[in-house]
């Protein structure tokens, strides 16, 4: 560990900040497969987890990596993996499994340009919809996205907290720019952190049911090895964890998996606003497109255009209500992203007829502030 238990200022790479925060959050298991631009997270884990009494294993592919993470999680351990888009594609099978068996875990995706192998060393934001819909079947997912090295650290802690609190996989969506960038960050003393650990089952008796939810829809956790026998089941199952193909039971199960997250959307929604009080032009961004968005906002204001920025830190569940609440004085929404328009397609659902324009790059080059300013100017001239 670079930062140990001491707080202070540290000059870190985004990927390393994720690794430091993961161990600080109590993660003690990493299984993964190396892939650019995420490999520093695996290297950091292989060096530092054994020192913290944890385990690192490099699996034969991303399918088995997430499988091992889920297995480790169900023994009670906080577990994580890191990859890039091609790895997320392979992990899709087990993202559904993690949702279904309700295994808390954190999946870091340092996004690169796709599709397929794409541009291995170039950044992108093309996995936005894959986070939400990558695995088959109905489910809800949590995805967070940092826009600075400081946020890499802070949101990693938050990702573990949400995964533990809601017993679900949580995506941490970096990109090739944020993951590879170095910045000075502030890490608080360990005593200042708030860590969430999964709710343990208490007062157990022989008729314990592993998937019987509390009123918050989340079943209390019992680890493998407990005297109270527990079962994890990726197939349709009743509250006892044994298989059930009953239609009513399955609808109840799937609804619960969705609602246990959806019902707490407000708590999960994290965002930052810049100059939104008087704005007429709303720029919505996340991750690496946030910095050019803020710079463009300042440039536009100098030209007399009242621009503001909404930075989404929570991507999923999608914070549509936050967007709606900002719209009354807005006459233009601008969405810069390193994708052909994935975030924009989601924003349109909440834009209430206000024009939404995208500033899209997907060749591996960063968006520049002037790209955004030019798009606003063009729209205002028309």
């Amino acid at each position: 560990m670079i930062c140990g238990n001491q707080g202070g200022r540290f000059f870190l790479q985004g990927n390393i900040a994720v690794g430091e925060a993961a161990i600080k959050a109590g993660a003690r298991f990493f299984a993964g497969y190396p892939i650019t631009p995420s490999s520093e997270i695996a290297e950091h884990a292989s060096l530092n987890l054994p020192r913290a009494g944890g385990t690192y294993i490099q699996m034969e592919d991303e399918i088995s990596s997430l499988a091992a993470v889920i297995g480790a999680s169900l023994t009670g351990m906080k577990a994580y993996t890191a990859t890039s888009g091609p790895g997320i594609s392979l992990m899709s099978e087990h993202i559904g499994l993690a949702c279904m068996v309700e295994a808390p875990c954190v999946i870091v995706d340092v996004q690169r340009a796709g599709p397929s192998t794409g541009l291995a060393t170039k950044p992108a934001q093309g996995d936005f919809l894959q986070f939400r819909h990558g695995t088959h079947g109905d489910h809800m997912i949590i995805a967070l996205s940092p826009a600075s090295v400081q946020e890499c650290f802070d949101l990693t802690i938050q990702a573990f907290n949400f995964s533990e609190r809601f017993r679900c996989p949580v995506f941490l969506a970096l990109d090739g720019i944020i993951g590879k960038m170095y910045e000075t960050i502030e890490i608080p003393e360990i005593s200042e952190f708030k860590f969430c650990n999964r709710k343990q089952a208490t007062g157990l008796s022989e008729d314990f049911q592993p998937y019987k939810p509390d009123t918050d829809l989340i079943p209390p956790f019992v680890p493998f090895g407990s005297p109270f026998i527990t079962r994890a089941n990726g197939s349709g199952h009743g509250i006892d964890g044994y298989p059930s193909a009953d239609a009513h039971n399955h609808e109840q199960l799937v609804s619960r998996l969705i609602n246990k997250i959806d019902n707490y959307k407000e708590e999960i929604t994290l965002f930052k606003k810049y100059y939104t009080d008087d704005m007429e032009v709303l720029i919505i961004s996340y991750g690496c497109s946030t910095r050019p968005a803020i710079a463009a906002m300042k440039k536009a204001r100098k030209k007399g255009v009242k621009a503001g920025v909404l930075q989404l830190q929570t991507l999923w569940p999608f914070p549509g209500n936050i967007i709606k609440a900002l719209l009354p004085q807005v006459n233009l929404i601008v969405v810069p992203e390193l994708s052909a328009g994935q975030l924009k397609s989601e924003i349109i659902k909440y834009s209430q007829g206000i024009p939404v324009i995208g500033v899209n790059k997907y060749g591996g080059k960063s968006i520049l502030p002037d790209d955004i300013v030019a798009a606003i100017d063009k729209e205002n001239q028309e």
């Binding site: 088995s64 499988a67 480790a72 169900l74 090895g225 407990s226 079962r231």
Partner: protein, 267 residues
């Protein structure tokens, strides 16, 4: 001493959902007897299954269980074992599950010598989905997706796992339940390393029907007739060994398991 393995069986779920004549019940009985023989506590066992007929075995167990995805039981078991090395982790896999879609996980787990026990029920086809060919279906065999005869050769799974580096590899057939129990029991006693037991079993419903081998009794007789103990294989030529089933211990070494090696290297 007689063992029933009763304390591991979820009796209210019986009878098994497997077809009449299926060999999985024999493997299941031998497995729970071996568990009892070694006095394993239910709480210390995690049975990890994938998808397939044998992958339903955990439905009848009163141990901890993880019923996951097709082909990935060994990968899940790896995570469980490394995170809590005190557990006895069993991966119960079939031939489609364990060595066809999951073949890569199998050989890498064997190479790493991960400290788990894998019990593979090899019935030479995909039983649950209607009898399609798998990675262990013999050349020329008829299945629902090789109606003109199977083009490919089959894996010799135990030899594959042995050459991948597993500490313990043994094969038996459902014609010899005592041998199955003996091998599983030995695997439990060994405690460390990757321990692989392959059981050749029958699928009268699909494989037997398509290949006109006859009813379950005929299929069992056929297995018995073709079985040769590994100690005797040297007496036969390669030609003579064609279409036979070699049973016995393919390898039995005391190689340090992954958990112990990881601990030593990283301390």
């Amino acid at each position: 001493m007689k063992f029933t393995g009763k304390k591991y069986i979820k009796s209210e779920s019986l009878p098994f959902f497997w077809c009449s004549g299926c060999g999985n019940g024999i493997i299941f009985a031998a497995m729970v007897r071996a568990m009892e023989e070694n006095n394993l506590a239910n709480k210390d066992i995690v049975a990890v299954t994938g998808i397939g007929c044998w992958g339903k075995a955990d439905d009848y167990l009163t141990t901890h269980a993880f019923h996951g995805t097709h082909g990935r039981a060994i990968a899940v078991a790896t995570g469980i074992k490394l995170a809590n090395p005190l557990l006895n982790v069993f991966a119960l896999v079939g031939d489609g599950d364990g060595v066809t879609i999951g073949g890569n996980h199998l050989i890498h787990a064997a190479r790493r010598n991960i400290d788990i026990i894998v019990i593979m029920a090899n019935n030479l086809n995909y039983g649950m989905t209607g009898g399609q060919y798998s990675g262990t279906t013999p050349f020329n065999a008829i299945t629902s997706t090789s109606k003109h005869g199977h083009v490919e050769d089959a894996f010799d799974v135990s030899s594959l796992v042995k050459s991948a580096g597993a500490g313990y590899v043994a094969r038996s057939t459902i014609a010899n339940p005592r041998m199955i129990q003996k091998f599983i029991s030995k695997a439990i006693k060994k405690k460390y390393g990757f321990r692989f037991i392959e059981i050749i079993t029958i699928c009268p419903t699909h494989y037997g029907k398509y290949n006109q081998i006859g009813d379950p009794v005929e299929m069992l007789k056929d297995i018995k007739k073709r079985t040769i103990n590994i100690k005797k294989t040297e007496q036969f030529s390669t030609k003579e060994l064609e279409n036979t089933i070699t049973v016995g211990e393919f390898t039995d070494q005391n190689i340090e398991g992954y958990v112990e090696r990881y601990r030593k290297i990283n301390n």
